[in-house]
Amino acid sequence: MKGFNDNFLYKTTAFDKALIGVILGSCLIVLLWLRYRAETVTALAHKAYIYKEHALIRELPLLKDTRISLADGKMDIEVKDGSIRVARSDCPRRTCMSMGWIHHGGQTIVCVPYRIVIEIKAIAQEAAIDSVVY
């Protein structure tokens, strides 16, 4: 093959080396960024975000069992075994309680009287759920 021999591969200038270094470095940065992004997105699936009147008030890791009170003690939220639910609510219909445990990305529990939304963020995988019909 004309022009493609050992000399072609081994005899490079400082500029060539710098160029190769820049290209490899760029690839490394892109790879690291993709890895970081994947970890961040996956981590989102393990958290529930609690909003009151659209303002984020709590982030709860779903991998840590816990129980908290909201709406001045009128509502209890429970996290257990990677799922979250409204364990107690003084609101009239208690629709939020009847939603039960949720754990899929995209699932939400809403309490209209207390203006509370609990949302598990969707994850970037094929089976991620964008919304839930009920």
Binding site: D16, I23, S98, W101, D130, S131
Partner: protein, 334 residues
């Protein structure tokens, strides 16, 4: 030797060009597929709109869509003292607002096609059970039979764009169809603004506009008798509307009494726990969910065949799942 080095430089240049192109593509996709989600409390529930598209389009389109939903919420809420429905129900004033009359006509079409299963005049019975004032109670059979005398869409007359009633006790509640209408109107706004990809979630009733970027939208279907989901559907350009006996209910002597009332008997329907319909028209999709509850699986699904391409997922009280003909292809397991 210079030629050989030049060759290497060309390779390096091409590689750098490819990297620049990928960077540019990533930035362009970030712009083109910008994702924005807004949630607001309205229509006695929450409404979330997610838009995927250029940022300048998303914000304006979503804001205008919410404005339209707010208008509909005020106009179609029979508890709003300024609404035409409030005046009709409480003062007997005929309804002349063309938008309200049009939706009532559509509801009456569904009433006829569903053989009376979807009825917007069932409000007095729903009230007897306490589902409006949230003070749930078991009405006596005498109370139910008395109220049934003024329940039935045959009591409504539509002439020359005016809706009237033949009995002052007749009341209209458009709650079983107005949410679908609000979704449809919001959809019109998003389309008019040029948004090609969006998800409207009106308290668990969803419309998926276009694709989620380059993928179909994944909409989960809640399991009515357990935590978690029955599965999910992959959709675009359709409404996915649901009704369940777990949304509003109370238990008395281990028996469940829910808010979906059979307008022929005055009692909550039995045998079905949840119905999900997938159809291009959100107004019809919402209204027809009740039809399956009232008629049961066999007749309900038979009636649904009048709407070609409508898919249904029915969760029976017993835990069994039944689907329309094409449903088994549609419902994906998690």
């Amino acid at each position: 030797m210079k030629e050989k080095r030049a060759g290497l430089k060309i390779i390096g240049g091409v590689a750098a060009g490819v990297l620049f192109y990928l960077y540019f593509l990533s930035a362009y996709n970030g712009y083109r597929f910008h994702r924005e989600k807004e949630t607001r409390f309205m229509m006695d529930t929450y409404v979330a709109i997610t838009g995927i598209g250029p940022k300048y389009l998303n914000s304006k389109a979503i804001s205008l869509a919410f404005g339209r939903i707010r208008e509909i919420d005020e106009k179609f809420n029979f508890l709003n003292s300024k609404s035409p429905l409030y005046a009709f129900n409480n003062e007997g004033k005929p309804i002349t607002d063309p938008e309200v009359v049009d939706l009532i006509k559509k509801a009456l079409d569904v009433y006829r096609e569903s053989e009376g299963a979807f009825d917007i005049t069932v409000a007095p019975i729903v009230s007897l059970w306490g589902f409006y004032d949230k003070e749930f109670r078991l009405p006596s059979d005498g109370q139910i039979q008395a109220a049934l005398r003024y329940v039935g869409s045959q009591h409504l007359k539509v002439n020359a764009g005016v809706v009237e009633k033949d009995d002052p006790r007749v009341k209209i509640d458009l709650g079983g169809i107005a949410k679908g209408y609000a979704v449809q109107e919001a959809l019109k706004i998003l389309n008019a603004q040029g948004l090609k990809s969006a998800l409207i979630d009106a308290g668990g009733d969803v419309y998926a506009l276009g694709m989620k970027g380059r993928k179909l939208w994944h909409i989960g279907i809640k399991d009515p008798r357990a935590d978690g989901l029955l599965g999910y559907v992959k959709v675009k350009d359709v409404a996915v509307m649901g009704s369940g006996d777990y949304e509003r209910f109370f238990m008395k002597d281990d028996k469940r009494y829910h808010h979906i009332i059979d307008p022929r008997t005055g009692y909550p329907t039995q045998g079905i726990a949840g119905v999900t319909l997938i159809y291009s028209d959100p107004v019809l999709a919402q209204a027809w969910t009740k039809v399956v509850f009232v008629h049961g699986v066999k007749k309900g699904l038979a009636l649904l065949r009048r709407l070609p391409e409508m898919e249904a997922i029915v969760a029976k009280d017993s835990g069994e799942i039944e689907c329309s003909a094409g449903c088994s292809r549609v419902l994906n397991k998690l």
